[in-house]
């Protein structure tokens, strides 16, 4: 099919305009440019039993599923490609995205006689409505056989992919479909589900609008076409296909007639590159880590819907299109540290909508951690970097939340309940899976109190700040007493003991209910990690269920406690349990299965972003700490740009100008600085003016506020 010139003006302008609207005007100033070329394909191994990727867009209410196999799906309809030459196996590769993180999907089908390379991208299309997208797929067949032959593909319309898939919330319930061809269009139940290349060939007796075919169940029905060409060795031929996110009622071709593959791909590249370019940039010598950072950002931006004029953080592009405070709060934090303040602030405002009249913030019944999580998320959005106006805006909600926490604690004391001074029981029907007084609820409420103090300070309400600090201190004491009384070897899921490990994993980070060096935190981490060994992750429930983000908080504690090797092991484990597009399923069996809980998961992306950022720069404590988790190899050239901190937006570089010298260069911030010397070496002398070694072990170098550079000499650690 002749491809229109890249960047033909009308489609590009139309796409750009819609992208502008969806991005809340943040792309203002962009003008049509020639379509950017792809950055190449990041061909990564697939660690899951099924290779699945999401192609979505912020503001859309569904996402396209690519895979498993050579299939794309909207959730209610799928296109499947098979190799044409008889006997050509044509097994599909994993799905890959591009090297710069742009979610343009690529996969191949390689057989003995031909190779097919697929490229698929999704973008908004005005004609499909303000939450609709169009997916464009180009299949390029290259003939490999020495003898010329008939190359090509067979295309089948199915109801669903053959492997794991999710039926969207708004898909019709019909399991039987009337279907026919109408020009280029594949029509099901009177609506266009795909537009095929004009040069496809329909078989004799193919269904028409006068003689319908029928499909039942998930598999292929009667809509089948071939794309074929006579090719010699090395010759190629491409065909293109369009899939609307929602079927539409139109005549042949209809409103997608003018949509070109090149236009859709160009729009996807422009939008995602722009999004990534405005976020914090992390570049380390480890290209897999760099890609994981960008993939996580893409997932976080994809997992945004709009409601009442605000962005809304949802749990995943597929099965978790809903809001949980426990997940949304993590997303707010990740977006804030990743320099996406518009989404972080909007998401925080959305979380404020969960407040009930008594002051509690609740997204799911019985999940009492929600109040603390929402308050904590408010502080993340308002302090990274400090935004007093946002703090003032969120403060009334935060005040009510604090009041609810204080009242709850007061009531458990006045009623002389067994766990007085803490929150009452919760019944989350998730996480701990028990009705009990949950340790995680109290940890999050403690974090909420501290967050209100931070917000109030930023907003200039000193009285509320003082009150919040007092509540935090008193509550913290009650928490400590309860922990002593629980007589548990580490930290139990509930004060009574029973339950699955869940909220207790957040006791050290981010809630800081316990100091990071508390031996019970190390014991908890040891217990959870041992069960999941040697994965580097932790289990949720059965030993075969590896959880991709439950262990992230414990990895953060390891950072703060000076055990970066544990953090690095978790990171390695996570990357080894990620998809070929670096998305993470929430729970993975040791064999790589994820059931119907498809990747990617927004919270896994969020905790990954937070962890990587803190490994390079952390403002968790009262100083700016650099290199807490950076291995020595990262000092050979790591760059973090446009990174918000509580002390301002920072850019920094880790360098190794000589084998025995490490150097940090950063934008000066008004905070004392501590540099963590990586494991394997120890600092022997500070080389920069104002820098000094701290302690006798050569593990830390310190400098005052406003420092631009810290250089220090290192020597191998004894015994290494």
């Amino acid at each position: 099919m002749p491809v229109p010139p890249d960047g033909s003006p009308r489609p590009v302008l139309a796409h750009l305009a819609l992208a502008l609207a969806l991005a809340g005007g943040l792309l203002a100033g962009c003008a049509p440019r020639p379509a950017p070329p792809g950055a190449g394909v990041a061909e990564l191994p697939e660690h899951y039993t099924h290779s699945i990727a999401a192609l979505g867009w912020p503001g859309a209410h569904r996402a396209f599923q690519v895979g498993p196999g050579s299939v794309v799906s909207t959730g209610e309809c799928a296109l499947e490609w098979l190799p044409l030459p008889a006997g050509d196996a044509g097994a599909a590769s994993p799905v890959w995205f591009e090297r710069d993180g742009v979610p343009v999907a690529h996969w191949t089908m390689s057989g003995a006689r031909q190779t097919v390379e697929f490229e698929a991208a999704a973008a908004p299309e005005r004609a499909l409505g303000d939450t609709g997208l169009v997916l464009s797929v180009r299949a390029t067949v290259t003939w490999r056989d020495a003898a010329p032959g008939t190359a090509g593909l067979v295309l089948r319309v199915r109801s669903a992919p053959g492997g794991p898939h999710v039926v969207p919330w708004d898909a019709p319930d019909a399991t039987a479909h009337e279907e026919w061809w109408l020009g280029r269009a594949a029509v099901r139940d009177g609506r266009v589900v795909a537009l095929l290349d004009p040069e496809r060939v329909l078989p004799q007796g193919a269904p028409t609008m006068y003689r319908h075919g029928r499909a039942t169940g998930d598999g292929p029905g009667s809509l089948r076409a071939t794309c074929e060409a006579q090719l010699s060795r090395g010759q190629s031929r491409a065909w293109e296909f369009l899939v609307p996110l929602y079927p539409f009622a139109q005549g042949p071709g209809g409103s997608l007639e003018r949509v070109s593959h090149a236009g859709v791909v160009a729009e996807a590249r422009r939008f995602w590159r722009d999004r990534l370019a405005r976020a914090a940039a992390l570049e380390t010598p480890d290209t897999l880590v760099n890609l994981a950072w960008r993939a996580a950002l893409v997932t976080l931006v994809q997992c945004q819907e709009r409601d009442s004029g605000l962005w809304v953080p949802i749990g995943s592009p597929f099965q978790y299109r809903d809001v949980w405070l426990r997940d949304g709060a993590r997303v707010v934090r990740a977006l804030a540290v990743a320099g996406v303040p518009d989404l972080a602030a909007d998401d925080a405002r959305t979380l404020a909508r969960f407040q009930l009249p008594g002051g509690a913030l609740l997204s799911q019944r019985g999940q009492l951690d929600g109040t603390g999580e929402a308050l904590w998320a408010f502080a993340q959005a308002a302090t990274l970097p400090p935004a007093p106006a946002l703090a003032r805006e969120l403060l009334p909600t935060a005040r009510e939340g604090l009041s609810w926490i204080r009242r709850q604690r007061g009531n458990t004391i006045s009623l002389r309940l067994p766990w007085a001074g803490l929150l009452p029981f919760g019944e989350p029907r998730d996480g701990e899976l028990v009705r009990a007084n949950l340790v995680g609820n109290d940890a999050w409420a403690l974090a909420g109190c501290a967050a209100v103090a931070d917000l109030a300070t930023l907003a200039g309400d000193t009285a509320l700040a003082r009150e919040a600090r007092e509540v935090r201190a008193d509550y913290g004491a009650a928490f400590g007493q309860a922990l002593a009384r629980a007589r548990h070897a580490d930290i139990p899921p509930s004060w009574q003991g029973p339950g699955r490990d869940w909220g207790n994993a957040a006791v050290g980070y981010p809630t800081r209910a316990l100091p990071e060096r508390d031996p019970r935190l190390a014991a908890l981490a040891r217990r959870l990690r041992e069960r999941a060994a040697p994965s580097g992750l932790v289990c949720y429930g059965p030993d075969d269920s590896l959880h991709t983000y439950l262990g992230a908080d414990l990895a953060q504690v390891s950072l703060l406690a000076g055990r970066p090797a544990e953090t690095q092991a978790y990171l390695a484990g996570l990357l080894a349990h990620s998809s070929s597009t670096l998305g993470q399923a929430e729970i993975v069996s040791r064999g790589g299965g994820f059931g119907a809980n498809l990747p990617p998961h927004a919270t896994a992306s969020a905790t990954l972003v937070d962890l990587l950022r803190n490994m390079v720069v952390s403002d968790t404590r009262d100083t700016l700490e650099v290199g807490l988790g950076a291995p020595l190899a990262w000092w050979a050239g790591t760059r973090l740009e446009r990174a918000p901190t509580r002390h301002g937006v920072a850019g920094l570089r880790l360098e190794r100008p000589a084998p025995d010298v490490l150097r940090l260069r950063l934008d000066p911030l008004a905070a004392p600085l501590r540099v963590r010397v990586p494991d394997g070496v120890r600092a022997t002398a500070a080389l920069s003016p104002g820098a000094r070694l701290a302690g006798a072990d050569g593990r830390w170098v310190e400098a005052g506020p406003g420092t631009r550079e810290v250089s220090f000499r290192v020597a191998p650690e004894p015994g290494r």
Partner: protein, 213 residues
């Protein structure tokens, strides 16, 4: 979901105009005239329907429809009827309470994030419904015309807090009821249940009779 479809008529290739035979035009005009006359006759004969179609119903009929909807757990229909019923007498606290309950039931009955609950797809929808429910119940309690109405509104307010998983908030409401109506028995057993749960949440079958005072 708002979907807009482009009118693509302008993009269709222009066809060479063809002249229609006079006989076809005459037949078409006759058909249009007959259709218009039939439409006019039907319109004149039947009364113009009201905007929502329920104005002709009595409150009793609406209440019966609400009950019928509850019986089959059709929460959306129950809300629909409760809304219309409350609209017949907006200052009636009982009807306001009924509407609050209908909102709560819709939020509650449509639980889970699966496809089966498109009416309350996200927790944002549900929490908004619960907020409305609580506000309506609170208002019904504040405007109660007698003690019976006040007790009923307050008890449902407490029950709703219990249902969303806030036992201490519920207990505070029940305590108000007991303080004002110490001889109202159900509040005592409800408080006992909540208190027992608070003291021993793992004992899922806490007996309502084991009063802990």
């Amino acid at each position: 979901m708002k979907r807009r479809h482009k009118d693509d008529r302008k993009r269709r290739p222009a066809r060479r105009p063809r002249r229609l035979p006079a006989r076809v035009i005459v037949v078409a005009l006759v058909l249009v005239a007959v259709a218009a006359a039939a439409w006019l006759a039907l319109r004149l004969r039947s009364p113009r329907p009201t905007r929502d179609g329920h104005d002709a119903l009595t409150p009793a009929a609406m209440a019966e429809s609400t009950r019928a909807a509850y019986a089959v757990k059709d929460w959306a229909a129950a809300l629909h009827w409760a809304r219309h019923l409350a609209g017949t007498d907006p200052s009636n606290p009982s009807l306001g309470l009924g509407l609050g309950l209908a909102w709560h039931n819709l939020a509650w009955g449509g639980a889970g994030y699966g496809r089966e609950r498109t009416a309350t797809r996200t927790s944002l929808d549900r929490v908004e419904m619960e907020r409305r429910a609580l506000a309506l119940m609170d208002t019904a309690s504040a405007h109660a015309r007698d003690e019976t109405e006040w007790v009923r509104s307050s008890m449902w307010l407490g029950q709703t807090y219990e249902n969303v998983g806030l036992p201490l908030d519920a207990l505070a409401i029940y305590a108000r009821v007991r303080e004002r109506q110490p001889r109202y028995g159900p509040v005592e057993s409800r408080m006992t249940w909540v208190l027992n749960s608070l003291r021993d949440p793992l004992g899922t079958t806490a007996a309502p009779d084991s009063v802990l005072r």
